[in-house]
């Protein structure tokens, strides 16, 4: 691997490591909130369905995806490079801007994957205790991993592009637009609690394809000059 890329990954890891305590605490509070929402949703749906396991599984996935999304947004540190004025030094390193951007995304995505898998295990235990239905949802784990692998990287790339290359107004608009594609699939969990695995997968793939198109365009348009000149805004 290119030395610059591995150094940036190491740097991101070290910074997140220093913030680990606050990340764990905020994730725990997010999880508590989402589990409460999930439980209420299950309580209302469970009486009207003959397949309670499917509803519980979908709620597990809803919790993991929402929590993963919130965690990713808080872990991505593109704006900090601008606010701490490290961005010019970072871009002066002997590698291209696309490599720097992508390598900055890797550690947050890895943390998301790790945290959401742990969260899913915790949620399994909580739901077993509350609803007294014991099972291991492979579907929830698989879907969560697919979401993170397919959606997180393009979302992070678009996020980085907007933070570095656009002025603050357009940056916010672009992020809302991309968030819609990311969290768009969450709405279906709220609307249809009894969604089947292949329907979920189809939505993930469609949202992922749109996000990847935008992310590829962002990578093509990204230039060091654009970032540096945008610093003067």
């Amino acid at each position: 691997m290119n030395k610059v890329i591995s150094a940036v990954i190491w740097k991101e890891y070290s910074i997140l490591n220093h913030r680990l305590k606050s990340i764990v605490i905020s994730t725990a509070f997010t999880l508590m909130f989402l589990v409460s929402v999930g439980c209420i949703r299950i309580f209302f749906s469970i009486k009207t369905t003959d397949n309670p396991k499917l509803i519980i599984e979908n709620m597990m996935l809803y919790i993991a995806i929402t929590s993963g999304y919130m965690l990713l947004v808080s872990l991505l540190r593109f704006w900090q490079e601008k606010s701490q004025k490290t961005i010019e030094t970072l871009l002066s390193l002997p590698t291209n801007i696309q490599s720097i951007l992508v390598s900055k995304c890797i550690v947050p995505i890895f943390f998301c994957l790790l945290f959401t898998v742990v969260e899913l295990i915790i949620v399994h235990i909580i739901f077993i205790l509350i609803f007294d239905i014991a099972f291991l949802s492979i579907k929830a784990f698989v879907c969560n991993i697919i979401v993170i692998l397919i959606l997180d990287l393009p979302f992070a790339i678009v996020n980085g592009f907007t933070m570095w290359c656009m002025n603050i107004t357009y940056s916010k608009m672009m992020q809302v637009f991309c968030s819609l594609f990311y969290v768009g699939l969450l709405f279906m969990f709220i609307t249809f609690a009894n969604l089947q695995f292949y329907s979920i997968l189809r939505v993930i793939l469609i949202c992922g394809a749109v996000l990847w198109c935008i992310a590829t365009l962002c990578l093509c348009l990204m230039k060091k000059e654009k970032v540096v000149l945008n610093l003067q805004d």
């Binding site: 610059v4 740097k11 010019e88 002066s92």
Partner: protein, 303 residues
């Protein structure tokens, strides 16, 4: 002597206004090259072009005969830009390690980092994060970080701005000591500092106004006024004896020294710090470069 940096007819325009116009100069291997100009003259823009962050509209910049926008041309370049570029959430050692990982292999990493932190007197910062450092400490760390790849070229953008006199002396000492093996491109507002440290200088104000040697100026006499809080006369006399100063005057608490050149000036200030005395003021009356600078810049404004 081969050229380390070449600005070849560089023009940079931003939204129709010309920031740099046909800039053309060479920095030779081994030079300590001062880059001067008033605010908004285009110094930082030139450095950004040199570091490959911006592309010129016309002309090109070469580092060691390779185009500056090529990644390989910057592998042996150390840089300390206007902002320190340090990560506040990391310790001094971690900041150093990040850049060491970019340029070097794992072997001897610990000793390399330790040696450079010693050089800038930051070896005892331990687990303190850089965000808690003073401005002077950050500047010193940024300089140490710039040296991590044993650079052939060191680009410094106002490295002593905001530093106390002790920090300024330290940084100038380091620059002098590494100049034997490294070419230094040094941008500053401080004419006296450039005169002390650099052997060649260029003055720009959107276009190149002057490029030449400052060596003759370095030998020019300067007046150094040192005022030390609660200092008995004998401390002044010990300083005078130590450096063999013949032309001096003690009036109340102020010691005025006329030096034939700037050679001893930093050593005198260092000696004051070594004696744990509180330095109140250093006033230097100089210099030919200062006169030349104002003459050139005023001439340009009048045109």
């Amino acid at each position: 002597m081969s050229s380390m940096i070449e600005f070849s007819h560089v023009t940079k325009k931003l939204s129709n206004s010309c920031i740099l116009e046909d800039i053309n100069f060479l920095v030779n291997e081994g030079d300590i090259f001062g880059y001067l100009g008033p605010n908004g003259a285009g110094k930082t823009m030139s450095i950004r072009i040199l570091m490959g962050l911006l592309s010129p509209n016309k002309g090109n910049v070469y580092i060691n005969n390779k185009s500056a926008d090529k990644l390989e041309s910057r592998k042996k370049v150390g840089f300390c830009l206007d902002e320190d570029g340090l990560y506040w959430d990391l310790t001094a050692k971690e900041n150093m390690e990040f850049f060491d990982r970019v340029y070097n292999i794992y072997i001897d990493r610990e000793s390399r980092i330790k040696k450079l932190l010693n050089l800038v007197n930051l070896e005892d910062t331990g687990k303190k994060k850089v965000g808690e450092f003073s401005r002077g400490m950050k500047k010193r760390l940024a300089l140490a970080r710039a040296l991590i790849n044993s650079p052939e070229l060191l680009v410094l953008d106002e490295p002593t701005t905001g530093l106390d006199p002790e920090g300024q002396v330290l940084i100038k000492d380091i620059i002098r000591s590494i100049s034997k093996t490294t070419t230094i491109f040094f941008s500053s507002h401080n004419l006296t500092e450039v005169e002390e440290v650099c052997n060649r200088v260029s003055i720009i104000n959107k276009k190149l106004l002057y490029c030449g040697y400052v060596k003759d100026n370095k030998e020019s006499p300067i007046k150094l006024s040192v005022s030390i809080e609660n200092s008995p006369k004998k401390i002044y006399l010990s300083l005078i004896n130590k450096f063999g100063i013949k032309d001096y005057q003690i009036d109340k608490d102020i010691l005025s020294i006329n030096l034939k050149s700037t050679i001893y000036q930093d050593e005198i200030i260092k000696d004051i710090f070594d004696k744990k005395l509180k330095l109140i003021e250093v006033v230097k009356e100089t210099s030919e470069l200062k006169n030349k600078y104002f003459e050139i810049v005023r001439e340009e404004v009048n045109e």
